[in-house]
Amino acid sequence: MADVSHTDERIKQTSRLRQALIRPELGGIVGTVAVFVFFFLFAHDSGMFNAQGVMNWSVVSAQFMIIAVGACLLMIAGEFDLSVGSMIGFAGMMIAIFGVTYELPMWIAILITFAICIAFGALNGYIVVKTGLPSFIVTLATLFILRGFTIFIPQTLERKTIIGGIREAAEGDWLAAVFGAKIGKPIFQWLGDAGVISTFERGSRIGEPVVDGIPMLIIWALGLVIFGHWLLTRTRFGNWIFASGGDADAARNSGVPVTAVKIKMFMFTAFCATVFAVCQVMEFGSAGADRGLLKEFEAIIAVVIGGALLTGGYGSVIGAALGALIFGVVQQGLFFAGVESSLFRVFLGVILLAAVILNTYIRRIITGER
């Protein structure tokens, strides 16, 4: 029973079954099952469910998850952050500038980048809270500002908009490994030797398994989901997040530090975007001015699929994680299913819309809300 204690305590005397069902993530669970059944039926022989295929959509889903956790907590606290995508591009570029152009040790470059980006998050939150302007507008402005800097700074310093050489600069760095390494290599090698995973047939890596470890990106995604879920459901701060998003005035009157909660959530969103960016530049070894385009909407979509309300005060981190999984599986699954590329967005739109409608419908039935 303890695991459902975060549900609305104002509804009293409900049956066990009903209590088990009144969860924001129910829609996400149903959607996840539906999506997997769907692709299992239509793309099972396309390589989507071999080791490489699974790794492919897992990594894409994990990427969505990282930014969805931040967006989810912020949305429950009643605010949006549209600057996530630009923040990803900006953070990656900062690492390249400090680590490659200025040749600082990579761990210092990463820490400076985190500091700058979290400061921008705090600034977003401060402006939103102090002016009372919609976060939609404030972070839209940040979206342009950060994207502009992401193009301007490398062009001024390096005369180009893609800065490479990060992998070389990060070689042997302890903090870079926390974001860019792969773990469990011996297990995957063993699986490869045992023939469970196919191995490279030629080249310098012959005999190695095609999937040689779990990227830290996935570990970060799972870690953030667990942290976010714990924060939201097991701590006093989590209650404050719900209260701030549900009715900020009522929350303030009952002593919740709404201002601090909201600013902290903006900072956490910026933190998540930076984690995404660091993992990305460590994997690919270069930062580009076009990275992270439209990722803010992908984060919001994942959160909404996961059952959170756009108006705040209701939602779940587990739901958002499932939303990210659905989004990732659908996006890559459509490629596996061989959908004509120009129809790709149509399918994506239809499936997302269906997921959200389904979700709302389920929520209305189980919560009795009109």
């Binding site: 989507m48 193009i151 270069s286 580009g288 992270g292 490629f335 959908v339």
Partner: protein
């Protein structure tokens, strides 16, 4: 909950219905060879339509299946995932651009090492192609093409220029501007402007630049996306035909511009060949084991007002 579950299943089936139809069409060739072409272009870039037509024609003629994939927003990190995805689906070959070596070389080399034949098209260099272990490069060496264009412009008396770059994040395309500047024998300096992708924005930027720098001799645009609004800009400013105007790539408006004298020349890198030839090469390699011994240069070819007829007929479709 059972009735709700059945409703859910019904909705799932509803979503599945059009899906089934599409898969059937995609597999309609009923052939054993499947190739995937991965581009770096965002959905909004119309130039790649020629590439789609090229692979469609090659697929039809050779009776093979060729699928086209691209990152919707043009984000190269997303493109890397698409290449990984393509490799996971075990096609007979992958044709891909190499727009950023750092990002794409890893996934491409992994595909090669899995035994998938890869051909690099459009973006990249012969050296990079060799390094990732691809069979060959089919495209236009960008710097050389820019250099040739710059030398040509210098012979025509050009001393300064503005480069209208609509894909500022693509380092390879920017080489065209650098080559052009070197061809003219001048420093690139502030001559390259980031025009963005939006037509009215591009037009305004070009107008603003030319007003601020009235001594500019020449305009270089890097594709129809930047050329079309630039044509409008020079027409509006009343300097069409007066200012030296060269462009990379072709399209309906560019061809019309060459015809009426607004544009001196267009450099055709012949995207049709970049898409068509790799399919031909891969299919014949898979079927008969024959392979051309070198990279294939699909361009540069200068298109001027002479001999426009064929170009005009197929502009935007196969040219």
């Amino acid at each position: 909950m059972t009735s709700k579950m059945s409703k859910l299943l019904a909705s799932a089936a509803l979503v599945a219905a059009p899906f089934l139809a599409t898969t059937a069409v995609a597999d309609g060739h009923g052939d054993d060879l499947t190739y995937i072409l991965v581009s770096h272009a965002p959905d909004s870039d119309s130039w790649w339509n020629t590439v789609k037509n090229g692979i469609a024609l090659a697929g039809e003629q050779l009776d093979v299946t060729v699928e086209y994939r691209n990152p919707p927003t043009g984000d190269l990190a997303d493109m890397a995932r698409i290449i990984e995805q393509a490799a996971a689906s075990q096609p007979d070959g992958i044709i891909t651009t190499l727009a950023d070596f750092d990002v794409l070389s890893g996934p491409i080399r992994e595909a090669v090492d899995q035994g998938i034949d890869v051909i690099i098209m459009n973006s990249g260099t012969p050296e990079q192609t060799r390094e990732v272990g691809a069979l060959m490069f089919v495209g236009q060496p960008e710097y050389d093409a820019g250099l040739a264009a710059g030398q040509r412009a210098k012979d025509d008396g050009v001393e300064s220029f503005v480069c209208v770059n609509h894909v500022i994040s693509n380092a390879v395309v920017a080489e065209r501007c650098r080559g052009f500047a070197d061809g003219l024998g001048i420093d690139l300096g502030e001559s390259m402007i980031d025009a963005g992708q939006d037509p009215s924005e591009i037009k305004n930027r070009v107008t603003a630049y030319l007003n601020a720098n009235p001594e500019t001799d020449a305009i270089l645009t890097l594709g129809p996306v930047s050329a079309d609004p630039t044509i409008l800009a020079v027409e509006e400013m009343g300097i069409a035909g007066d200012i030296y105007f060269g462009t990379f790539d072709l399209g309906d408006n560019i061809v019309a511009g060459i015809k009426d004298g607004t544009i001196q020349w267009g450099i055709d890198q012949q995207p049709f060949l970049q898409a068509y030839l790799p399919v031909v090469v891969l299919a014949n390699y898979d079927r008969y084991g024959v392979l051309p011994g070198n990279n294939i240069n699909s361009g540069p070819g200068f298109v001027t007002a002479d001999g426009l007829e064929m170009v005009e007929k197929f502009a935007g479709e196969y040219r």
